[in-house]
Amino acid sequence: MNVLTQIALSHLTSRRRQTLVSLSGIVLGVGFFLGVSSLMRGSERDFIARLIDTQPHVTVSDEFRANPLQPAERLFGKGAVELRNVKPRTETRGIRQYKQKLAVVERLPGVRVAPVLAGQGIITFAGRDVGVTVSGIVPERMLNVSTIEEDMVHGRLEDLDTNPNGIIIGQQLSDRFGIDMGDNLSVAAPSGQVRVFKVVGIFRTGNQEYDESQTFAALKRVQALMDRPNVANNFVLQLDDPMLARDAAARIETLIGYKAVSWQEASEDITSLLKVRNIIMYSVVSAILVVASFGIYNVISTVVLEKTRDIAILKSIGFNAKDIRRIFLMEGVILGALGSVAGCLLGWGIIYGLGRITLRAPGAVEPVPMPVYWGADQFVLAAAFAVLSAVGAAYLPARKGGRVQPVDILRGAA
């Protein structure tokens, strides 16, 4: 063992109780840092995973990002053109020539797409009415872009192919109205059309609101209900790499003109909120470690004061100021490293414990385990921060130790 390390260790072991107290500060700091970080990042990742899994990566709607330019504006783009009282054109809702546009989108690499005609409807069953969203889908395409099939409690999505009058409803709606498989429902559309649908499937996503208000039926059947033949008003896209959604949306918008919104754009307010939350969280948990580092400062300062005679001995033997500084910095490193290792073990235990707690989140029908993050990066971050804090706390006493003049101590002892 290096002689400086041996001296540093001897200092720490000679003040065992104080060393343990300051060490426990680091251990608790690292442990709670990891516990809080794991929960925060776990919930963030869980949230994003839910966004990615349950929502389309990109949604193309029958809207435009900006109003189209008037012919005069197009012709005299740089001229002083002012148009007043322009009457907006009455657009037929829906994506025009959606099949051709669907084919364009489909040709993009790593993209799966499904057309949807979504609209409002009123379900009447046993004399009771409820407003729902009716989505007209092509089951075989929907299977490629949605996880809804995994949430089916009864029936399958493809049953809509074999039963053109079929409808799939959520568990919450089924429970609330006592609707069972095979029951017939009357669905009225804003167009005035009323159709009878037979329940061929029930899903349960765990999201109460979604399970109560969302229904699925065959695209052609919904087009007839809404009186909008050959129309789709949404494209739902899934990508092989969800992180490329922003670029893919921009590309699609350029290709077909309609507004394409990535999941990142749709959730921008929430993701920026998560970033702010992370900054606050790391500031708070870092403060724990900074406070713990004062304990280390205290221990090493005391050791420097107590060991001035030893410093004088070492300097008279031939150790220089740099050696003395290294001894006390080493004490900081040892405390930081030991605290990090023990703190990581404690943190591991805290994360494990948190991961076993189940909660019933608002809107969820089933209890879910607390989302925790096990990533090694947060362990590395916590350990590095702890060691840096400890070395930082040791620096001032170490510098003071290095400046001790042996003659001053020897004169005092004589």
Partner: protein, 231 residues
């Protein structure tokens, strides 16, 4: 360059040490000293006369306000603190009134300390040399004891063993028998004398004990910081 064997191993010319302050205190004034290999020199004088201050200057633990010290032919004025530490490590050994051993280390570890810092010998060689030095001073069976488990005389002998660790040319001692009983004092005195006569080291020791000074080849008397006689 060949070195003159008759040249002093340590020579100081016109050494002064003044402590600056509201009233400047002169600790040592215009002291000139030379010591040869194999010579044991005692520095004597009344309390507060500047004996220890002169020793600290000669031991490069303090810097003179004026004057020059040559050690083994090397001019030490103007060298950095780091270089001064290096010279102490390689060429000097110290023995203080209060043994000044590291309490958490065993006698063996204390003796090995300068060797480990210098790093010239392998660990096995360091250990062997430390055992040898302790054995020469009759302390082999106490090698693994800590200072707290040793008597005052034994601790001082451990300090002497440590002072020899890096084979120094000069050993400086500050009242090495000041805290010992008469028997231990004689043992320490004789040990230092042996190091001078048998091993050819220069020994410079501050003392106020006449019995210790009797063993010295030369006595330097200092009063009010001024060397009165170097007989």
């Amino acid at each position: 360059m060949t070195r003159n064997p008759d040249a002093p191993v340590m020579r100081a010319e016109g050494l002064s040490r003044v402590l600056e302050g509201e009233v400047a205190a002169v600790l040592v004034r215009e002291a000139s000293v030379s010591v040869h290999r194999g010579e044991m020199v005692a520095i004597m004088g009344p309390s507060g006369s500047g004996k220890s201050s002169l020793l600290y200057l000669l031991g490069l633990l303090d810097r003179p306000t004026t004057g020059t010290i040559w050690l083994d032919g090397q001019d030490t004025s103007g060298v950095s603190d780091e270089e001064m530490a290096r010279i102490r490590l390689e060429k000097m050994g110290f023995v203080f009134q209060f043994h000044f051993l590291l309490q958490e280390f065993t006698a063996l570890d204390n003796v090995m300390l300068p060797m480990r810092r210098l790093g010239r010998l392998s660990e096995a060689e360091q250990r062997e040399r430390a055992h040898g030095l302790l054995a020469e001073l009759g302390l082999e069976e106490h090698a693994h004891k800590r200072p707290g488990q040793l008597s005052g005389g034994q601790r001082q002998r451990v300090a002497i063993a440590r002072a020899q660790a890096n084979d120094p040319v000069v050993i400086l001692a500050d009242e090495p028998t000041g805290a010992l009983d008469s028997h231990s004092s004689l043992v320490v005195r004789d040990t230092l004398k042996r190091l001078a006569t048998e091993e050819g080291r220069a020994i410079i020791s501050v003392t106020h004990e006449a019995r210790f000074a009797e063993a010295a080849d030369r006595i330097i008397t200092i009063i009010d910081g001024k060397v009165q006689a170097a007989g």
